[in-house]
């Protein structure tokens, strides 16, 4: 995937002061622009109207169960890795109405879909790991012949501006999963940030149309060399790794491993890891009737393999304890995903490590499970 070895294909250099031309071009093409902004102590994707909205000088410290922003004097706006969410909530929304039911005077029911309107959305500053996760969500929600219309509608209107990582967090391990830190072609534009601005690459025809409207300058050889050095530094800065290859057999062979009970002593079974994971897609559906029982709205909302309901069928909870829930998560994500989607469900973004309230580290759990497998 995006290893940085391929020809970069830059189209030119966009000076920092000209960043707004990108926003204006996207707006003129009908997109609402969102991008990274500092809110509630984190970097969140919010409405972006000018380059001055970006988190200039903001870096972050991430560790298991720990996330803090730091203000530095770097002129850069993308000197951080990933916040709690990126693309997922904009396509697979945390909660949405799917249909409404109406009962007429004779008791007959009418079902009406709640059609999502088209909403062309440009997300600026997505990372390579999030693009890899998006490709997985696409596989799941856009399965041929059985596409989810709600997801599909929003996916179609999406414009993605990737920014290659120069400051991976201590929790990132995309190099070991092969998903970063440089974006491939699963986006529309890809930027490399330098102190004075951005090297710009078009990765799609939609991106090409936008690039043609930007006041690009020539990218100097010195700038290209600098980008090359920073790309390499971003790769070697990563501190964590996930073992390569298909771990399915290893993990299922470790079904009775004592480590599952040990991690269950710490795990809160809270579902934060699955909620922040950009590839997790589990949901539940709930009906909310009006008080008179005449009408109802049917919602879909994020669920998690860490809830009791997730494994409840006909009076039985298949996974009543945390041990079986954590095991379900890991054996599915890193094991049976290979059968379902042809690869692991982990893209190495490290979110589940950072946003676990008690700092459980997926890479540490996997290495413990594999090191003493079968013991």
């Amino acid at each position: 995937m995006a290893t940085g070895g391929a020809s970069p294909g830059w189209r030119g250099f966009l000076p920092r002061e000209a960043f707004d031309t990108l926003l204006r071009a996207l707006e003129a093409a009908g997109y609402e622009c969102i991008g990274p902004r500092v809110e509630d102590g984190a970097i969140l994707y919010r409405g972006l109207s000018a380059g001055s909205d970006l988190p200039q000088g903001v870096e972050e410290a991430q560790a298991p169960g720990h996330y803090r922003l730091q203000h530095t004097d770097t002129p850069r706006c993308f000197a951080w890795a990933v916040g709690p969410q990126a693309i997922k909530p904009h396509l697979f929304t945390p909660r949405e109405a799917l249909w409404e039911t109406e009962r007429d005077a004779d008791g007959r029911l009418t079902f009406r879909p709640v059609e999502p309107g088209p909403r062309p959305l440009a997300i600026i500053g997505v990372r390579a790991c999030d693009l890899a996760a998006l490709a997985l969500q696409d596989q799941h929600f856009l399965r041929a012949g059985n596409a989810d219309p709600y997801y599909a509608h929003r996916r179609e209107g999406l414009f993605l501006v990737a920014v290659n990582c120069t400051h991976p967090a201590a929790t990132c391990f995309c190099v070991s999963t092969g998903d970063g830190p440089q974006a491939g072609d699963d986006c529309d534009l890809a930027l490399d940030e330098l102190d004075e601005g951005y090297a710009v690459r078009a990765a799609s025809s939609k991106g090409e149309t936008i690039v043609q409207q930007l006041p690009l300058q020539a990218l100097t050889e010195a700038q290209q060399a600098q980008i090359g050095r920073e790309r390499e530094a971003a790769r070697s800065a990563q501190q964590r790794t996930m073992p390569a290859g298909n771990l399915r057999d290893h993990l299922f062979n470790a079904w009775e491993h004592p480590r599952w009970a040990q991690v269950a002593e710490r795990c809160l079974s809270c579902g934060n890891c699955t909620s922040v994971c950009p590839t997790c897609f589990c949901h539940q559906q709930v009906d909310v009737p009006t008080l008179d029982g005449g009408n109802a709205t049917h919602y879909r909302e994020w669920d998690s393999c860490f809830t009791q309901n997730h494994s409840y069928i006909h009076g039985i909870t298949l996974r009543p304890d945390t041990r079986s829930r954590y095991r379900q998560w890991l054996t599915h994500k890193l094991g049976s995903w290979h059968d379902q989607y042809g690869r692991s469900g982990c893209v190495g973004c490290g979110r589940c490590i950072t946003w676990c309230p008690v700092g459980i580290d997926i890479t540490e759990e996997v290495s413990a499970l594999l090191a003493e497998a079968g013991k």
């Binding site: 102590g41 996330y67 809160l268 809270c270 008080l291």
Partner: protein
């Protein structure tokens, strides 16, 4: 589902409480008219209907048990009701007034009241389920209209009301709130607390106060351990569990571990 001859009879009873949970009915807006068309509200003192001894299909009970008179009254309500539904933190888990269970209540009585001998309170404040069988618990401080409406609708349809028992964290993430524990080091009870409030406090950058009591499968040991790492002193740690919903397990025991 649609009422035929006799409408179901409903009562709303109050014990020791702030009355806030009853507002979940009064705040229904137009639904309050719908409700009064569908059921007969025979007793609801705050709304003006008075018939405390009526036999009813559903009794909603707010408040905790604090006097010998309370104990007699709850037995009578149980006998007179087909379904008994407790509403709010006081009724389900003791509420704020149960803070006295961890203090020398007699000393407080003498300090606060001029003639404490007029008081006839029990040694502790207790949830309703400590005295009678409860059919359904609606947790929260206070409960909200959405919960009450949902329960009434389900009971009228003759189905078991859906039990909300996931952790607050699930809703916190759906609401896209930034985790206060991870991003600020603020202690938060969300990972052991039952959902229902819409993750209200984390959305306003506060830790969860555990208003809705314990979620299913709560791991208080692990959370306490993490709180210790955040620098909480034993007394602060105890207060996390012995706040609004102290009279329910595992919160009682989790707090007691840090009692002097």
């Amino acid at each position: 589902m649609h009422e035929t001859t006799a409408k179901p009879k409903v009562a709303v009873h109050k014990f020791s409480s702030c009355d806030g949970c009853q507002l979940a009915f009064l705040d229904m807006g137009e639904d309050l008219l719908t409700l009064s068309a569908m059921v007969d509200i025979v007793h609801f003192a705050e709304a003006g209907m008075l018939d405390a001894d009526a036999t009813v299909d559903v009794a909603f009970v707010e408040g905790s048990l604090n006097t010998r008179h309370d104990l007699k009254r709850i037995q009578a309500i149980r006998r007179n009701s087909r379904f008994l539904v407790t509403i709010g933190a006081c009724a389900t888990a003791g509420g704020l007034q149960a803070l006295r269970n961890f203090t020398d209540a007699d000393a407080w009585h003498s300090a606060v009241y001029a003639t404490p001998e007029y008081l006839d309170s029990l040694a502790t404040a207790s949830p309703i389920k400590s005295a009678v069988h409860v059919d359904l618990e609606l947790w929260g401080c206070p409960v909200n209209t959405r919960q009450v409406t949902g329960a009434v609708r389900a009971l009228l349809s003759g189905v078991t009301p859906a039990v909300e028992q996931d952790k607050v964290c699930m809703e916190c993430k759906r609401q896209q709130a930034v985790c206060v524990m991870v991003a600020k080091g603020t202690p938060c009870m969300g990972p052991v607390t039952r959902t229902g409030c819409g993750a209200l406090c984390p959305r306003f950058e506060r830790g969860c106060y555990a208003c809705y009591g314990p979620a299913e499968n709560p791991n208080t040991d692990s959370l306490s351990h993490w709180f210790e790492g955040l620098g909480l002193l034993p007394e602060q740690l105890r207060e996390q569990y012995h706040g609004i919903t102290s009279q329910t397990e595992p919160f009682t025991a989790a707090g007691n571990r840090y009692r002097k």
